[in-house]
Amino acid sequence: MNILTNAQLWASTLAMAVPLALPAIGGTFSERTGVVNIAMEGIMLMGAFFGVAFSYWTGSAWVGLLCGLIMGGLLSAVFAWAAIRLAADQVVLGMAINIFAAGLTAFLLDTIFGFGGTPPQTPQLPTLSIPVLSSIPFIGAFFTNQSVLVYVMLVIVVLSHWFLFHTRIGLRMRSVGENPLAADTAGLNVWRLRYAGVIIGGVLSALGGVYLSLGILNSFDVNMTNGRGYIALAAMIFGKWTPLGSFAASLLFGFATALGIALQNHGISANLLGMLPYLLTILALAGLVGRSKAPAADGIPYNPQR
């Protein structure tokens, strides 16, 4: 039982929740405005790769972070254009983006850095301890030596919840995801709001990718996201398309991963424990937490018929 009182378990939980929570919140932004987004995995890879590449080229992890976000934003803008303007099937499109990004980043890694991987001297984003909070006995581990992006994520969780549910623009974004015709009639620009939702989502997903490559590490590897973009999708649905819910679900998945690691030396098969996060995903999607309902117009392209 001393496993649960081990501070490192909780630090790992938070650390493993970040690369799920950021794309999950990103997906929430996109889907709340009515665009189904399963492209988080690919956009994360873009952010992760270009974050490392620019961090190495410029010698500054912060510039790397910025460029990673820009590249993720660019790719999601392409996705948005095809999904909104061309009214392409959003699931097929999202899948195409994922496959494209996986191929592109692998190809660029080989051509630019060679088969030996990204250079080990690539600058990494700093880790921080929050002075007062880190000395609290139990919760302190959350705030000790965590990547700076962990704190950024905590701020984003709160900010995005406030933005979506307590501001006028947030209300407008949600309205085009529920009933775009009514929103259009009321004088809102449906397309523009959807572009905003998808691109904000893309930038947040890319931030999740940068966290993997520059937050905990300083290197990129082929497919280093390892399906986290898809688990984020589950976290978003589990969290009922809200930022706070997505964060809570991500914490649960992070906990499953951390617990899986900790339990390995207690006679339980590593293969079984590796299933834990995915088992939770299935349970989540099977409606364990009650029905979660997608925004009414989610996935339906809107044609203003001008």
Binding site: Q8, M16, L104
Partner: protein, 349 residues
């Protein structure tokens, strides 16, 4: 696979402007899948290499085998070509393609290609096949390279045990504990770990070795978290046998100011202060050797063992922080393994 490559190529054209806009010369000296490699070939001897799904940037045997091939291209003047398998379904067609094109030697990297080689090799008796990490006997045109990695695992384990017992390295804690992070519990991984456990038991019998598996060879973030949990439990020297996942282990050891031991390749370059040494598996030299045998008409079919005795496995760069007396004791153990006084079992406890 092909669509992916076309898409990538198209993307590079568009992104090319952005990249060059950065104004930094990227090193483009590596060769891509499917291209023939190197300078003007001196002979018509052709060698094809088929990777398993790990691909050339697996930080492991695919990467090293390609190194060996490139060395053969430079030194023996053979023509080399590489194709990376995207899925297990590609193994047979990839091997057949090289054989049909009249390649003299085809290299299959990894025990996952066992069935594919057994199927393809008898169809092309004039082509010679080399398979890495998998014992195949009884097919005249197939040779297998098997590495006794438990031996180098033993040596790094013995070194870690000695250092842990002395406790003199800066950063070592008082707890007598070592950590291992494995990729998957499969023989090429567990043989290293088995050797490590026996090596530690020899030099520091009281030590605990905490072994955890990531179940992935490409999840660096997970590797980093596993390492941090082991470090938190008190492990201060971590041996990673986890391919790409291991890069995360080394990174975590570096940021927590403890030590790590590399695997497969000499990984000292990843973190010169952190890496004590690496348990090296000479896939590069063995690939080169077998190509050389074929070029010189000295081809041997059946299993070829690569161990400490013929430098098929060994230690990588040793960190200067490791005291001379420790290095000397490890060298003595290596001698004892070579002359058979010590036998190391490839099976984990």
């Amino acid at each position: 696979m092909r669509i992916q490559m076309v898409a990538s190529a198209a993307a590079v054209l568009t992104f090319g402007a952005l990249l060059t806009g950065c104004g930094t010369a990227a090193n483009n000296d590596t060769n891509n899948a499917g291209n023939t490699t190197g300078a003007a070939p001196k002979s018509n001897f052709k060698v094809g290499l088929v990777t398993d799904t790990g691909g050339l940037n697996d930080h492991g045997f695919n990467f090293l085998s390609n190194q060996g091939l490139q060395q053969a291209v430079k030194q023996l003047g053979v023509q080399g070509a590489v194709v990376q398998s995207q899925s297990a379904n590609d193994y047979v067609p990839n091997l057949q393609r090289f054989a049909r094109q009249g390649y003299n030697v085809v290299i299959a990297v990894g025990f996952l290609m066992d069935d594919a080689v057994k199927q393809v090799a008898p169809q092309y008796p004039n082509t010679k096949f080399l398979i890495i990490d998998d014992p195949i006997q009884g097919i005249p045109n197939v040779t297998s390279a098997i590495f006794n990695t438990e031996q180098c695992g033993y040596l790094v384990g013995a070194m870690a045990g000695l250092l842990e017992k002395q406790g003199k390295l800066p950063g070592l804690n008082s707890k007598n504990m070592l950590g291992v992070v494995g990729g998957q519990a499969i023989p090429p991984v567990t043989s290293y770990i088995a050797g490590f456990q026996q090596g530690v038991a020899k030099t520091d019998p009281g030590a605990t070795v905490e072994v955890k598996f990531a179940n992935s060879f490409s999840d660096q973030a997970l590797g980093s978290q596993i390492a941090q949990q082991e470090i938190n439990d008190g492990a201060d020297i971590l041996f990673q046998v986890a391919g790409g996942t291991g890069v995360g282990v080394i990174n975590a050891a570096k940021s927590k100011h403890v030590y790590a031991i590399g695997v497969d390749a000499d990984q000292a370059y990843l973190a010169p202060d952190t890496i004590l040494t690496s348990a090296v598996k000479g896939v590069d030299t063995s690939t080169f050797d077998v190509i050389k045998q074929a070029v010189n008409h000295q081809w041997k079919s059946g299993i070829q063992y690569f161990d400490l005795k013929n430098n098929g496995v060994g230690l990588g760069t040793v960190n200067p922080k490791v005291p001379q007396d420790v290095q000397k004791q490890v060298d003595q153990l290596a001698q004892q393994i070579k002359n058979g006084t010590i036998t190391v079992s490839p099976n984990m406890k």
